[in-house]
Symmetry: C2
């Protein structure tokens, strides 16, 4: 592959830009970006690339198109990609939900274009190209969606692309992907938003100044709840069915905790609290976090 | 004040030990600790102090007794403190709930002993004296419970003690304290436990290997849910009434989010997500966290 087009150059897009530049993976890097603020930040990186504000301005063949905009913007761009791409082009993305998006993309993209969704499991609560990092994908999972109809050689090219960026690639189907991440990522984010909302509602209602005492727990949730709202609205809406079952399971468990607390059920509550500690050990063992204690920052 | 007795020398107790030793606040430091493992760790610190396993073995007057055990153990120790303490003694603690505990302590402690509860807002998910730190209280809030009946000179002595450890002291009544921390600390911990429980239930139910993808959000909750189970059971049970209302408020808000997602209520959800971002800014402004982005560890 010699030419890449990065569509949308925020935190993830600009991290891909930095990484492909660092590893010299492509001859030509094209960037589609409309925000003047983002363009000026990208230019300061002094990376050899062509920034365009319209796909029409690209006259070369593109081997890899990678969509890094919020998912709600994909549909706007498909017709333009249809004009640019050919049977050699792989179109992928970095979005956090797969089933619905993939269905739409397959319907709207020209039949001869390879659509293979990706999902690098990385990021932060901040947005924008100023926070990009060439090592953002290093040692992180990247999920590739695999379907029988997909071009095997393209799938293997895309896999090798992510490996060059340092990712550990894993294959799933879109249904499986959306179920797994509804629990490990989408529900935790909704819960963080909901907890912060509950605290502010409470602050208003009781007229207490709560937030200044947030070091005791609320602080950590507020960080997660500071993530980009457009991105998260898109995720919640695109993974609606799984979100609803995850919320229901969560509320059932919370009601059971409430009952244990109300009736001072000692054994039941201790059992539950001990079991969650074991999960923590597993997470550290699987290198999803370090065991270093956190005393706040 | 010349003599201090630290009852229970885990994370908090051993941090107080390190801090009072460092600042040379007392002539004599006594420690009541029964765990052999903890005693051997404390001895390795080479701090001049007397470790006893029974209060009977202390023959000196104690000016400050500070309870650092789980709250469920306070009642076991009161009769012994009654024998040791006199009208000059201040008895305080570091527990996370105040109303119920304070009522019990006032009933059981001899009338001439000053009971003034403290709550330093600090700590970590780890336990044990090996994790103690002389700077644990530095620049952190310490809530002191203030009631009309309290001895003013003792209150001011206790305030000065925490200030010497670097804490910012703030006064509240116990009711106010328990309401505020039910939202900023107790509910967030319960929610973290509940989220991790939901993920493991889900993993069992669907037979998916979820935990290895926990970097997308679950990771951060699992850290909070790794905290000491005895301590948290005591907190949940001792702050029952406020916990139940906090849980109810949380579930109401979550049901409203569920409805927004189910009906794709764009404006409603964006509004909610933007508002929580503002809270984050306030938390950083109030120096409860730094604004440094977190990309995982």
């Amino acid at each position: 592959m010699s030419n890449i087009l990065i569509v949308g150059c925020g935190l993830i897009g600009s991290s891909i830009l930095r990484a492909v530049n660092n590893k010299k993976i492509f001859k030509n890097i094209f960037i589609l970006e409309k925000s003047k603020k983002n363009i000026s930040i990208i230019k300061k990186l002094k990376i050899k690339c062509k920034i365009v504000n319209n796909i029409k301005n690209i006259s070369t063949n593109i081997d890899l198109v990678i969509l890094c905009t919020p998912m709600s913007q994909y549909s706007k761009i498909i017709s333009k990609i249809n004009k640019l791409a050919n049977h050699k082009t792989i179109v992928t993305d970095v979005g956090s939900t797969k089933e619905l998006i993939s269905k739409n993309m397959k319907r709207k993209l020209k039949k001869n274009i390879s659509w293979i969704p990706s999902h690098p499991i990385t990021g932060s609560e901040v947005s924008g190209p100023q926070h990009g990092d060439k090592n953002l994908f290093k040692k992180k999972w990247c999920v590739l969606i695999k379907e029988k109809s997909f071009n095997k050689s393209h799938l293997s090219k895309l896999q090798s692309f992510w490996k060059k960026l340092g990712s550990k690639v894993i294959f799933m189907n879109s249904k499986q992907h959306d179920i797994i991440f509804s629990i490990t990522s989408h529900l935790p984010h909704l819960i963080a938003y909901n907890l912060v909302k509950t605290a502010t509602d409470f602050e208003k209602q009781k007229k207490y100044n709560l937030i200044k005492f947030s070091a005791g727990g609320l602080r950590d949730f507020s960080r997660i709840a500071a993530s980009n709202e457009i991105m998260w609205r898109d995720i919640f809406f695109n993974n609606k069915k799984n979100m609803i079952s995850a919320i229901n399971l969560f509320i059932n468990n919370l009601n059971s905790f409430k009952k244990d607390i109300n009736l001072s059920k000692n054994k039941e509550i201790i059992n539950k609290l001990i079991k969650t500690k074991k999960v923590r050990k597993k997470i550290v063992l699987l290198k999803q976090d370090t065991s270093k204690p956190d005393f706040g920052r």
